[in-house]
Symmetry: C2
Subunit: 256 residues, 2 copies
Amino acid sequence: MYTLLDMPTTGNLNSQLNPHVSVDCVIFGFDEGDLKVLLIERDLDTIDHKTLRYSLPGNLVDDNEDLDTSAGRVLKELTNLDNIFLEQFYAFGDPLRVKNSADAQWLNAIRDVPTARVITIAYYSLVKIGDYQPAPSSFARKAFWCPISEVPALAFDHNKILDQALISLKTKLRIQPIGFELLPDKFSLGQLQKVYETILGTSLDKRNFRRKILNKGFLKPLQEKQKGVPHKRARLFEFDKEAYDKLKSEQFYFEF
Amino acid sequence: MYTLLDMPTTGNLNSQLNPHVSVDCVIFGFDEGDLKVLLIERDLDTIDHKTLRYSLPGNLVDDNEDLDTSAGRVLKELTNLDNIFLEQFYAFGDPLRVKNSADAQWLNAIRDVPTARVITIAYYSLVKIGDYQPAPSSFARKAFWCPISEVPALAFDHNKILDQALISLKTKLRIQPIGFELLPDKFSLGQLQKVYETILGTSLDKRNFRRKILNKGFLKPLQEKQKGVPHKRARLFEFDKEAYDKLKSEQFYFEF
């Protein structure tokens, strides 16, 4: 357990924290066949209730740092995840968003100005779970990957923030080929379909999926086939970034 | 000219304003063949310099209102535009964004806490200019449509906010058929192409444009032709919302 002296980032000991604006990070983790989100458990000594012990990693911004820097710093301080591309997606400003009584109790324990209205700027990212090992620090007692389907009631408006992040992620998947970063350099169409199905939370028709994605012209078929499967070894493909960039640079096209 | 007593919304007389968070509105106006943005001129008696007299309509949020409500209120207070669908698109939080000396001088004249760091939540919208007649009030001395190509140096980071809004607008045009709201119910393909060219700031190949947009299947050709033109009267079309919704509801499709 930590003491107040171990908490350089929670406000009591750092007069530079801005009590009115925070950042929250929704880190989606892809784990073949499963979509998860990075949560922290807050120190329970500061909360009587056992409710709302979990939250997204988030904290107040420092008064002299910009928002992007703040999001990266806060994520690292609470979970040790570093060098992740974080994309800002929405600001949440319900005047009552930190007024829940269990949350207020926690804020009373750790904030200089616990009753301040806090507007939060939310960021999201999508990573391969295998590439990152969360480790808690500051006011996080645990940092762990939670399957999207098992997310409990979270602190503040964090369930709403998560829902909105998921909408942003699905939209992005529709308009950009982000799935490829989650796969090895060489992959089968089955693996690619699984990425889409996992993020969209739905199953897709195999034939339609293949036809549509191959029609895009930026999947390069290789001579190689899958290894380590007994039979029906699938052909492997590579993402052809050059072909994709060419498509994007064409004068104009509709995507709706 | 107003006196301080006429300024209920600028902070001196309203203790509920939150000095740390503001909203700014980027209202794009479409005027056949021209894309404009709604600007205000700030009262010059509060600025010695003649620089930075123009800005986007924006102000501090009220401490008990949510962000969307705040954006609508501020827009109405400064420009009299009302009932506009405002979409939040980005939060701007450079620690130095209100520290320019001319801006600081203006803030000194009208704010309770003129030195506070202000993070702003930016909104945008796209309207038909003919539908709205701006009228200035509060600290706006003028409210006017300015062609995008003629936007001067603006207060704070407002040029950057405008640039980002334009990117959001262009992205939205690519992924949603928003152009139709700017046209009469019945329109020619030439008129529609003009909307796209105006927003994208580029000319498009006529044949490609027609082929691509007609392929989408949600433009309904009418028997009617354009009126009021001497010859080569173009066929008119209607936007078929039902066909569009059907397309959107299909199980899954790529847009990249």
